[in-house]
């Protein structure tokens, strides 16, 4: 069942002539992970804002086309320090901020918060002041805070930006767990090497329009590699002049080599 559908959506930010999104159509089903890839400014963040009912409602601007959601959505934005509530002086309270705003009963809040803290391995940090955390720790707190809201549709905008390699690996594992729990996940990321193991489908955005939709195999496409959107393995393979089709991952490359 489709949790999110964008139908021929075009969007203009306020006071701008050129549209940020042009005729974008995509959908995300329950339990599916869809990744948005593209160059900087291609429109991935805007798609997420539109999907999360934040554009144009909060950003202003004009939208054409329909966005339909079957679930409540929650979004993780790229800069953790602007997403801190400002009201919480411990990590536990920060994660509980969202559920408390929704008016849930105390035991339900505690359940969701503890679960989210466990998912993100934040137990030891639960009593720390968010203002004293590093960028990576804060990003994990924000992700936990978003998950604690138990939305059916989860949107991620560059969630691994502040994380180190190990943190990023754990995050991708967590996203797969979310999908298994039945959530619909739409994520924008430039961590292309992770996508073959994470995403079910890929949407390639260029200049605000959908250039291609497909499986993560798309990242081994000659065209994608030329546009700078190939996995490291595919890009290196292509750059060294070896013949196509390019391998997607190291495992593929090993198989090709043999």
């Amino acid at each position: 069942m489709k949790s999110l559908t964008l139908e021929r959506v075009s969007f203009w930010y306020p006071a701008t002539e050129a549209p940020a999104l042009r005729d974008v159509s995509l959908d995300v089903s329950q339990g599916e992970i869809v990744a948005l890839v593209g160059a900087v400014g291609a429109g991935a963040s805007t798609v997420l804002l539109a999907a999360g009912d934040l554009a144009p409602r909060l950003t202003g601007g004009r939208i054409v086309g329909t966005v339909s959601r079957r679930e409540r959505s929650a979004i993780v934005l790229p800069t953790p320090w602007t997403q801190v509530s400002g009201l919480a002086f411990t990590v536990w309270d920060e994660v509980a901020f969202g559920p408390a705003n929704l008016g849930w009963p105390t035991h339900e809040i505690a359940r969701q918060v503890d679960r989210a803290l466990e998912h993100l391995e934040l137990g030891p940090l639960a009593t720390r002041d968010p203002a004293t955390l590093s960028g990576g720790e804060l990003q994990r707190v924000i992700i936990a805070a978003t998950l604690a809201m138990d939305s059916g549709l989860v949107l991620f905008d560059e969630p691994a930006a502040e994380l180190d390699a190990e943190g990023a690996r754990k995050l991708w594992r967590l996203i797969r767990v979310l999908a298994k729990e039945g959530k619909a996940v739409l994520l924008a990321t430039s961590a292309l090497d992770a996508l073959p193991d994470v995403a079910d489908r890929l949407v390639w955005l260029e200049d605000g329009a959908v250039r291609a939709v497909g499986t993560p195999e798309l990242l081994a496409d000659v065209a994608a590699c030329d546009a700078g959107l190939g996995t490291s393995v595919a890009t290196v393979w292509g750059a060294s002049g070896l013949p196509g089709p390019y391998p997607l991952t190291v495992a593929h490359a090993v198989r090709r080599w043999r």
Partner: protein
Amino acid sequence: MTGRRLHPFTLLAIAGALPALAWILPAPAGGACTAAVALVLTASRGLRRGLWPAVLTAAPFWVFLRLLHDVPTTIAIGLRITTMVASFVWLAATLAPDRLVEATVARGWSVTAAYLFAATITAVPMLRGRARRIVEAQRCRGLSPRGSLGNRLRALRALALPLVLSALHDVDERALALETRGMVSGARRTPLAPPPDSAVERAARWALLVACVAALIWRLK
């Protein structure tokens, strides 16, 4: 001391009543009593966080008052200022903003005012840190904030403008984040850890208010 366990509204009531009484009651006895109470309260927070800051902040006023006024006026105004300074120093050392927010939520009042207060408290150190980094960065670029007035004003602009603009850019992101975390969901926010309030404290707060009003009426007669 007990400050930690008093209800936030009680803390506010005390910190508000003491200066009010210092002004309403006749000098110098009124001011002396309130100042004494306020200083005892600050002492209860310890030397470093309470008494010393209060004394350090209040002392210069006495010096300047003596410079401008005669002894009785100096004492009268000095005691009032000391009361106010000590009360607010005590309040700042005792009031936990999150407890204030929780107290407001538990009462069922709109969380807006408490939110604005608490969010500003958390935003200030962040912006201050950013300001320092901008000063460092501009210094590395050769910005020399010395010399003529015009030079300094230009330097000020080069330091202040990036800070303010980046802060305003943050506002957009913060709005998105607040929205997505349900800040205006319309539902009544669940209190997470409502500070306990007792009948005694409630009565005490009312008593303080009545005392202030009564003193005012008595003074005006």
